[in-house]
């Protein structure tokens, strides 16, 4: 079997006096989607930021694309980050740039493609997330929440990632838009990028897109396994979380 894309062993992370993660271990294999669930403030975003090398773990080991990243410098991390696409909870679009320039950003930054080629790729990535070229000239402030999320995904696709990291992709969306985004993630997985970590407290999303699911409780994975087994199991802590999330 090939080496896992992400391999975390006993990851720990604290901020001042609060210990957010205390020993999280998991692997993500090529072609797999791992869903990480947990209540608000459980440390889901922190975990995703660790994987992208945006913050450093205090303890444990973290291998991404076969490299130990916990001690890499910012400069050394840049090429690794270009192999993953990070979709932020609030989209984090560049608010002074149009949709076109947001999606084109990585292309302008890292390639010498001509204007025609850039436009073609931008339009293609937007169509992958279900947006037409009418949005090209709009500014992020002129978009709805759901559209902003989609543009965020399209921008992440511009680096041609081998793995996508989603932070609450359905957070703040109405049920219809949530469903559309869930379907979109499923579609991407069958096409442009087959490996993903999805962080969410949305049970429906977990069921739709996950191969395996982990539930983050008290800084550890209270459960980790196939979606049906974990969500349908009888671990009391997981059931308590699900009961809370369903409300």
């Amino acid at each position: 079997m090939s080496e896992p894309v992400v391999e975390a062993v006993d990851l720990g992370k604290r901020f001042d006096s609060t210990e957010v993660l205390r020993g999280v271990s998991f692997t993500v294999s090529k072609g797999e989607t791992l869903v990480v669930m947990g209540g608000s403030g459980a440390g889901k975003t922190v975990l995703l930021r660790l994987v992208a090398g945006l913050i450093r773990p205090d303890g444990g080991r973290l291998r991404v694309f076969g490299r130990n990243i916990e001690h890499l410098s910012e400069e050394e991390l840049l090429p690794l980050r270009r192999r993953m696409g990070y979709v932020f909870q609030g989209a984090a679009l560049f608010d002074s740039l149009s949709v076109r320039e947001n999606v084109a950003y990585p292309l302008r930054e890292h390639t010498n493609l001509g204007e025609a080629e850039i436009t073609e790729r931008v339009v293609r990535n937007l169509s992958l997330v279900g947006l037409s070229s009418e949005v090209l000239p709009l500014l992020p402030s002129e978009l709805s929440g759901g559209m902003r999320k989609r543009v965020g995904i399209a921008r992440a696709l511009s680096v041609e990632p081998e793995m996508l990291l989603f932070d609450e992709p359905t957070g703040g969306l109405d049920p219809t838009n949530s469903k559309l985004v869930a379907e979109l993630i499923l579609q991407l997985r069958g096409g442009v990028c087959d490996t993903a970590i999805v962080v969410t407290h949305d049970v429906e999303l977990a069921k739709t897109v996950g191969d395996r699911v982990a539930v983050l409780i008290d800084g550890r994975f209270g459960a980790l396994g196939p979606v049906d087994a974990v969500l349908g199991g009888n671990d009391p802590a997981v059931q308590a979380f699900l009961a809370g999330a369903a409300r």
Binding site: A52, L54, L78, R81, F88, G90, A92, F94
Partner: protein, 253 residues
């Protein structure tokens, strides 16, 4: 108290680290030169009016005050060089750095700070962009051009303003005034002032960038960071001016 000392130490350490990172990242890719030019425009246009207005009024006030008071001990004929020395060595570079610096640096803090709190900085990082090269280095390089340039203009306007007020208010002979001034003022006087302005431009910009990149706590934090920048810039210029003056007096006298 302990928390305050710790925060202060963290701040100095952080600015120091950022300075180190900037010096290691000076080699910009050619496509970033456009950013430097853009920053020069933004900084220059933003500040030209403020810098020159402050310079002309300060030049006039300093000169007329000196004239009136030096007349009391019969030294009014030396007002020209005295005012020019004060303006070239201190007032020009320091006032420009404080006014332009406060404006430019708080603008930088606001811009980078809002990028920070909306995760746009992290977005750059995840896209594989070196945010120091993209956001900080072009601004520092622009400051290296803008601050000395504005200081030269402020010097000129200040000295000429002083001369004009002497002519209008005290009936000074412009030729004599100019001759005695240029007799006593040497290039070193002008150049140490410009040297200071280069240094001020760099630290002021670094302060603005550091405070922006380390903004925390949403919109409220953004306001706090911007205000802090104005204070840090003012204090930074005033205090470092003392040490630079000592240094230059030791080196060049």
């Amino acid at each position: 108290m302990e928390a305050y000392l710790r925060r202060t130490a963290v701040w100095y350490g952080g600015v120091g680290l950022l300075t180190g990172q900037v010096f290691r990242s000076l080699a910009l890719p050619p496509k970033y030169f456009r950013l430097v030019v853009q920053e020069i425009e933004v900084m220059g246009v933003q500040s030209l009016g403020v810098a020159l207005t402050a310079a002309i009024f300060t030049g006039m006030v300093f000169t007329i005050q000196s004239a009136v008071n030096m007349a009391r001990f019969g030294a009014e004929s030396y007002v020209g060089p005295l005012a020019a020395l004060a303006i070239l060595r201190e007032l020009g570079p320091v006032l420009t750095a404080i006014l332009v610096g406060g404006k430019v640096a708080s603008g930088i803090t606001a811009e980078l700070g809002s990028m920070k709190v909306t995760e746009q900085i992290d977005a750059l990082r995840t896209l594989g962009v070196n945010y120091i090269k993209r956001l900080v280095v072009p601004r520092v390089l622009a400051a290296l051009v803008v601050f000395p340039l504005l200081t030269v203009l402020a010097d000129a306007v200040g000295v000429l303003g002083g001369m004009a007020i002497m002519f209008v208010e005290r009936g000074a002979d412009v030729y004599a005034y100019w001759n005695v001034t240029t007799y006593w003022v040497v290039p070193k006087d002008f150049l140490t002032g410009i040297g200071k302005s280069v240094f001020f431009g760099v630290i002021v910009t670094l302060i603005g960038c550091y405070n922006g990149l380390n903004t925390q706590g949403g919109t409220e934090g953004l306001g706090r960071a911007t205000t802090a920048t104005v204070v840090h810039v003012t204090m930074g210029v005033i205090v470092s001016d003392f040490f630079l003056t000592k240094l230059f007096l030791t080196l060049f006298y």
